[in-house]
């Protein structure tokens, strides 16, 4: 096995929740390798933000994309070669702000990709502005009087959009997080994994999360029930909220075809075009 870490200088703050995600992900990759999924087949993307820096810290292939566009990028990899295991890392600002359309549509079409959403409730790399899922009243540099917007609930939104695997975990529970990552990546179809990630510099939630995070006993029986658990603010539930089997976008669009692995070569194409144009 190839070393999963890189020699790139890590610039996350000391105590950043992202370290938990990095460590859990490395463990998940090792577990997946043991289950027969080669690292060579695992492709990653990331948006832009503190979360996205994970791209440089992982010795895996992929694209360090634009802010909010990582889901579209990873979908493009998947659609061209559906045999690849495709995962993207995105912050809550990245996924739910600039990238919201892509998130909802990736869920809607059940693209066979996994998004790991680092939820620290803040735009950290741009110094602490409120995100689309920050609670109302957040005083940041762009909202000095306190934000006046109501937040989205991420899990509720992606469930409504059609996600077929929806889970939440917490960076301080490495084993739980590893397990959720493995299941999300193994799932065929769109997997959304929200990770509660304290930001030690702008939104330090360790103490709060340690008090109110609680594992779900079972997978909720319906989407409606899942939403209730997801929206609960007294307790932050972690675990699988929803899981179902549905054909993926590529399966519905072109069955078991693979555009790059089964591409037609020149002569075959030219002959077919001659037929279309009715020329010798």
């Amino acid at each position: 096995m190839v070393k999963l870490g890189t020699s790139v200088e890590n610039t996350w703050c000391l105590g950043c929740g992202n370290f938990g995600i990095l460590n859990a992900f490395k463990k998940a990759i090792i577990e997946l390798e043991e289950k027969g999924i080669s690292q060579n087949n695992i492709l990653i993307a990331s948006g832009i933000g503190c979360s996205a820096k994970i791209f440089d810290y992982l010795n895996l292939s992929g694209i360090y994309s634009l802010h909010g566009r990582d889901l579209a990028t990873i979908e493009g990899i998947q659609f061209a070669n559906p045999n690849l295991k495709t995962i993207t890392f995105s912050g809550d600002g990245n996924a739910m702000g600039e990238g919201l359309t892509h998130l909802l549509f990736a869920a809607k079409r059940n693209a066979d990709v996994t998004i790991i959403m680092h939820n620290n409730g803040v735009y950290a790399l741009t110094t602490g502005q409120y995100t689309p899922i920050t609670e109302r009243g957040w005083k940041g540099p762009s909202t000095p009087k306190g934000s006046v917007e109501e937040p989205f609930n991420a899990i509720s939104l992606v469930l409504e959009a059609g996600a077929t695997f929806v889970a939440r975990s917490y960076t301080a529970k490495i084993q739980h997080l590893t397990d959720m990552m493995v299941q999300a990546i193994e799932h065929k179809g769109f997997s959304f994994l929200e990770v509660l990630q304290p930001c030690v510099s702008y939104n330090n939630t360790y103490k709060l999360y340690n008090e109110i995070v609680e594992e779900l006993d079972d997978i909720p029986k319906s989407i409606e029930e899942a939403k209730l658990y997801a929206k609960n603010k007294d307790k932050l539930f972690i675990g699988i909220f929803y899981r179902t089997e549905k054909p993926t976008f590529c399966e519905l669009l072109y069955g078991d075809h693979n555009p790059v692995e089964k591409r037609q070569y020149r002569d075959e194409r030219i002959n077919k075009i001659k037929k279309i144009l009715n020329i010798e």
């Binding site: 440089d56 990873i74 493009g76 998947q78 659609f79 020149r266 194409r269 030219i270 075009i273």
Partner: protein, 513 residues
């Protein structure tokens, strides 16, 4: 040439068919036969009738009209969808006039219509029988000895891309590029393509770039408004060195502009799309036949030079159809430079700036990075790497120029007379205008606009030239002035959304030449 309004029902829409025993490159608005379905058409086109031409009008419509009245509507009312049938009546009238027999007419309708074939054939035959005794064979055309395909500009672009190796096409509908999406979607399964219409143009370009990462030859298409949204991703393509091909089919802007008409107003935007400094390859086909080959060649070039390329065209080329003589075996097949062995560095700093590619799954690490990066693709803020990577990417300007110097980058038609420089579909209008007006001139068409083939254009430096383009501010003339010493005698511009008419254009050329 099809002229239609941005609506689904009603309005004034028309098609112009021009034919000749010699090669013609443009429609003519002056017509020997005009078939009007309503009074508005009659009023709009009365001045287009040539001397000795026939005006056929719908005699069921009230109003003061001269010519041959045919009861198109009352005959159609014998069928279930009378309003949808009138067009096929016009085809029957055209067929009868030019000597198409009923068997040929019926075969044509069967070929063209997916539903209502029986009704359309019956109706067409009724109309044919009414008009034939009056004007049958009036403009009898002799059939040629060779069968040639008649193709739409966008069909040429789509098929050219497939012939060049296309695997994935992404687009959000936008006139006049939409028919590329429709056409490719319809034939996707036959060629094993992924043809995908996602949520917006931003998804389009990012998905496309993702697909190029896997080795898939990938194209996207839009018009000005959608292209604005693609611009963010074009910049991404610049730094991560993604070989993505973009079709920009221009319509009059700014903003929504005039959706179903033509213009060349986005030239500057195409040349500069995306923030930051990087190589953008821009080329524009002068004819529909050239559109076929150039699309394949552009696909090859973006893969060879790993940078975004733009095939710049217009509504006039995209949505006009023409009979072509085409040798498919001349098509270029897109081939990138591949990594062979040894340590792999995605952004290996080679002499020509082109780093060999590898595709997943691979045991080597392939990192494409939107941040400035080192040779392995890891993010960097090191001043030495920032400078070195700028230099590495910018070597491709020279590499591409050296490569293109050995290729055809310019068309020159004619060898005597005044010099006319033009580009894109305007070339078709200019060539036809010269033939119509019997004007001797040299028409110079740069196929490539970035890089502009100065090495070829130099022959014309310090000379008087006429520039012809469909832009209100003369963007193409300005581009030429910025890049070479020329004396602009006159810039002939048209920017009313309509393509040049060869008769009017020939007068304008004669006035200045």
């Amino acid at each position: 040439m099809d002229d239609y309004m941005s609506l689904i029902k009603g309005g004034h829409n028309f098609s112009v068919v021009s034919t000749s025993t010699r090669w013609i490159s443009s429609h003519y608005m002056k017509a020997d036969l005009i078939v009007n379905l309503d009074k508005r058409s009659y009023d709009n086109h009365i001045d287009h009738l040539s001397e000795g031409g026939l005006m056929v009008y719908n005699s069921d419509i009230k109003g003061d009209m001269d010519g041959i009245g045919i009861s198109l509507t009352s005959e159609a009312k014998k069928f279930p969808n009378p309003n949808l049938m009138l067009g096929v009546g016009a085809i029957a009238i055209l067929g009868a006039t030019i000597g198409v027999n009923k068997t040929e007419l019926n075969a044509l309708i069967k070929n063209e219509y997916s539903k209502g074939v029986k009704e359309n054939i019956s109706y067409a035959n009724i109309i044919y029988d009414i008009v034939y005794p009056i004007i049958g064979g009036k403009f009898q055309l002799e059939g040629g000895s060779k069968k040639r395909p008649n193709i739409l500009g966008n069909q040429a672009i789509a098929l050219g891309a497939i012939a060049g190796g296309l695997d994935c096409y992404y687009a959000y509908p936008m006139t006049p590029a939409t028919s590329i999406l429709h056409y490719l979607a319809a034939i996707a399964d036959d060629f094993g393509l992924a043809v995908i219409h996602p949520e917006n143009e931003i998804a389009v370009i990012n998905m496309a770039i993702g697909s190029t990462f896997t080795g898939a030859r990938t194209m996207v298409g839009s018009s000005g408004g959608g292209f604005s949204l693609l611009a963010e991703g074009i910049s991404l393509g610049g730094i991560i060195e993604s070989p993505v091909l973009i079709v920009l089919s221009m319509r009059p802007g700014p903003a929504t502009g005039v959706p179903t008409y033509t213009e060349q107003g986005d030239l500057n935007f195409a040349l500069n799309a995306g923030h930051g400094e990087f190589l953008r390859i821009v080329a524009s086909p002068g004819t529909i036949e050239e559109a076929f080959f150039l699309t394949a060649q552009m696909l090859d070039l973006v893969w060879k030079f790993q940078t975004p390329g733009i095939l710049l065209t217009e509504k006039h080329l995209s949505e006009s159809s023409i009979t072509v003589d085409i040798n498919l075996n001349d098509t270029i097949w897109a081939e990138p430079l591949l990594h062979k062995d040894g340590e792999y560095k995605r952004y290996f700093d080679t002499e020509d700036g082109i780093s060999p590619l590898l595709f997943p799954p691979a045991k080597e690490i392939l990192k494409w990075n939107s941040y400035e990066h080192d040779e392995f693709g890891f993010t960097t803020e090191d001043p030495r790497w920032i400078k070195r990577m700028h230099n590495k990417r910018n070597k491709k300007f020279k590499s591409l120029e050296n490569y293109l110097r050995k290729k055809k980058t310019i068309n020159i038609f004619g060898d005597k007379g005044p010099i006319i420089i033009t580009y894109g579909s305007t070339v078709m209008s200019v060539l036809e205008a010269l033939k119509y007006g019997n004007i001797e001139a040299r028409v110079v068409q740069p196929i490539f606009l970035s890089p502009l083939p100065i090495w070829e254009l130099e022959k014309f430096k310090d000379q008087e030239v006429i520039v012809i383009e469909q832009s209100a501010i003369g963007q193409f003339a300005n581009l030429l002035k910025e890049n070479m010493n020329i004396q602009l005698k006159k810039v002939i511009k048209q920017y009313d959304g309509r393509p040049f008419d060869p008769i009017k254009l020939s007068k304008k050329i004669k006035d200045v030449a």
